[in-house]
Amino acid sequence: MDFQLTEEERLIRDTAAQFVRRELISREGDYLRQRQPFLPPGDPPRRDLDREVRAGLEALARRAGLWLLELPEAEGGAGIGAVARALVYREFGRTILPFEPPALPGLLAGSRHAGDLASGKRSLALAFAELHRTGAPDEVSLRFREVAGGYRLGNATVELYGPPADLFLFPAREAGTRLPALFLVPRDAPGLEVEEEGDLTTDTVIARVTFRDCTVPGDCRLGYEYEVASVVAAEQLRIAARCLGIGARCLNDAIEHARNRVTFGRPLAARQAIQWMLADLSVQLRACTWLTLEAAWRADRGAPYFEAAALAKKRAARTAFEAADVAIQIHGGYGVCKELPFEGFYREARMLRLLYGREAELDRAAGERFLKGE
């Protein structure tokens, strides 16, 4: 056994860490204080990065090789493995700034829109809402049928968490056989309607995508059941890695605050209640770090890793949530303030726990697999 990172993995991890520290965490203060004191009552407008700042950061990230992680170098991507990708997303998870490399599933390489996606001319959104309960496509209501020159899709409405993009990647099932397949469809395809619905508790939006007899060319279908599952697993790994970063940041800042904050004549760090919270958290975090890296390592080795990715996601998201919770609790009143990142991590981690398989469903599936002797 060997738990050493390769030289290459170490290098990209350090590059990402440096980028996150220098370019992102350094901007957090400005980002978090977007709201001026004494604005009219009501919630502040949704926090977001300034467009120019975002464009500048993207250019820097591209130059550093921290963009298009999944695409091969021939298509302008970084072409890194799953372990390296997890290490990169873990670094980006450390900041509350809403900026990280966009998730472009590797199977898009060579597809019709790969060039536009790689250049940033077009953006991608994953419309996988119906998989969020179990992580499997059993509840997908969208049906497809092969017709002359392509496929007809309809009729269904799916929710979209995050801003609508130019291209949608989504699963559908064949009418009759119910066989799952994966489709990539542009927003302006006839029969496809996008409706923005409102804000989410995380600093993003919720939208609806409706298909009504939407006909698409044959090359919009990118695969079948395995491809759907591989997108889910890649997302689970990405979320798990991000959650490790959230957890590490929260643990770090909580320890720092506990060292400095004095109550009843002693620092918080001298209090058993605080020590135990941090101790418990560190154990959780260590456990899911290796769970995540092992799942990624299996993916790199070509071994089955879907179940491991699901388990890593579940534990890491849970741990990130608990880490944000602990960081809030140790920071007290400051913890719930929007001027510090922890309440934002808390809201985000709560969302991440609900994506690509909820805890009880993943537990149940794992239990059922065990009982069936799989």
Binding site: P40, G198, T201, E343, R350, L354
Partner: protein, 408 residues
């Protein structure tokens, strides 16, 4: 509770007294006849109508939508007053009903059955009843009449859970005190007419020398620097005092005896937190049921709901027990800490489960579960974080032994 019965004195009796039951029924009728019919309308109310936040700067808002809901709230207040459901916990000498802690729990429990964040006022910060002489007309009565509001300023940048570390000073200067320092997180300070400020005499430490002042907004040297957005939507403020001269007639209670006042303020609120969390948790579980989020055949979900209902019942009885002890002037600090800890952590677990059952679409900003989620987070901190409650409980355990958890 919910029915009255002749008091069999000397035995445990969970029924309300006849007087308390009468009050509960009146509130129940008010909720049924006035609040419930408005619920569909309030589902789409602006976020400011979550919790008590609408009483903040919303009252000065020009936004027609906010004004419309503010008007609805004010109309409800008038209706409640017309029914005699006003000044419930105000002492009789000031024209109130002087309802017991137990009765006020029953009142809140009824109100919590509605999702509309309506309160029966006017609640007056309980330490203001220490007002004497001209302070009564200047501070207390206007609050009771609803003409003035106050804010409570104890925490500081470096002193929260441990208020004995407060550093704001009040230096005597003839008939005046000169106040210097910074206060964090008083809610509503930006709209309040005056602030209840805790400061210490020079050269004192710990609980000694703490003195409470009543200081009007606009007093030279007193500034509300900013308000701070929080996850719960409340907007607590930061206050700065720079050579703020305050006349000795504005000392609440006695000079140097402010510590007892702040303890009284915090202690009295715990049981209300308990019953509120209980009510919110019940509403969250009802949402799951009403929206069909938990189908009957999903065994494990049903099992967990059943478990929560049991815990909620336990919380409710403990809360009433503590309030009853407080009414009898018995030491209820242990119950207060246990209720605060149990209630806010349980509510957190119930909402966490509800979100797990309902999925990401329930995190829509205006969804009732998302609102409950955001509110519940700060409840585990404000008015004494869970760790402080655990600390109080362990201190009581080591001081009094297991006797502290015996039935009184």
């Amino acid at each position: 509770m919910g029915r009255t019965r002749g008091c069999a004195c000397g035995t445990v009796d969970f029924y309300l007294s006849e007087e308390e039951e009468g009050l509960r029924r009146a509130v129940e009728a008010f909720v049924r006849e006035e609040l419930s019919p408005l619920e569909p309308e309030f589902e789409n109310a602006p976020d400011i109508f979550e919790g008590s936040r609408w009483k903040s700067r919303a009252r000065r808002s020009e936004d027609p939508e906010i004004r419309r809901f503010t008007a609805l709230m004010e109309e409800l207040e008038k209706k409640a007053e017309a029914r005699g459901l006003w000044h419930l916990d105000v002492p009789k000498q000031y024209g109130g009903l002087e309802a017991s802690n137990v009765a006020m729990l029953a009142v809140t429990e009824e109100l919590e059955k509605s999702s509309i964040p309506f309160e029966l006022g006017n609640h007056v910060s309980n330490i203001l009843y220490a007002c004497r002489g001209e302070q009564i007309e200047r501070f207390l009565l206007p609050c009771i009449r609803g003409e003035k509001t106050s804010a409570f300023a104890l925490s500081e940048p470096a002193s929260g859970s441990d208020p004995s570390m407060l550093r704001t000073t009040a230096a005597p200067d003839g008939d005046y005190f000169v106040i210097n320092g910074t206060k964090m997180f008083p809610t509503f300070a930006d709209v309040a007419d005056f602030v209840q400020l805790f400061a210490r005499l020079p050269g004192t430490e710990g609980r000694d020398g703490v003195t409470c002042f009543l200081i009007e907004t606009g007093t030279p040297g007193y500034r509300v620097v900013r308000s701070i957005a929080t996850i719960a939507g409340t907007e607590p403020c930061e206050l700065v005092f720079e050579n703020c001269r305050v006349h000795r007639s504005q000392v609440l209670g006695e000079v140097g005896k402010g510590w007892e006042l702040n303890q009284a303020w915090l202690g009295a609120r715990r049981f209300q937190v308990g019953i509120r969390s209980h009510g919110t948790a019940q509403r969250v579980l009802r949402v799951l049921k009403a929206e069909g989020i938990v189908p009957e055949n999903r065994g494990s979900f049903a099992e967990r709901i059943g478990g929560f209902l049991g815990e909620l019942a336990a919380l409710r009885s403990l809360t009433y027990y503590g309030a009853w002890k407080a009414d009898r002037k018995l030491d209820a600090r242990g119950e207060a800490a246990a209720v605060k800890l149990f209630a806010t952590e349980l509510l957190h677990r119930v909402i966490d489960f509800a979100l797990e059952a309902a999925g990401p679409s329930a995190l829509r900003k205006r969804h009732v579960l998302a609102r409950a989620f955001r509110h519940a987070r700060s409840r585990r901190i404000v008015e004494g974080p869970s760790e402080i409650q655990r600390h109080i409980l362990q201190r009581i355990l080591f001081r009094e032994g297991a006797a502290s958890v015996e039935i009184g």
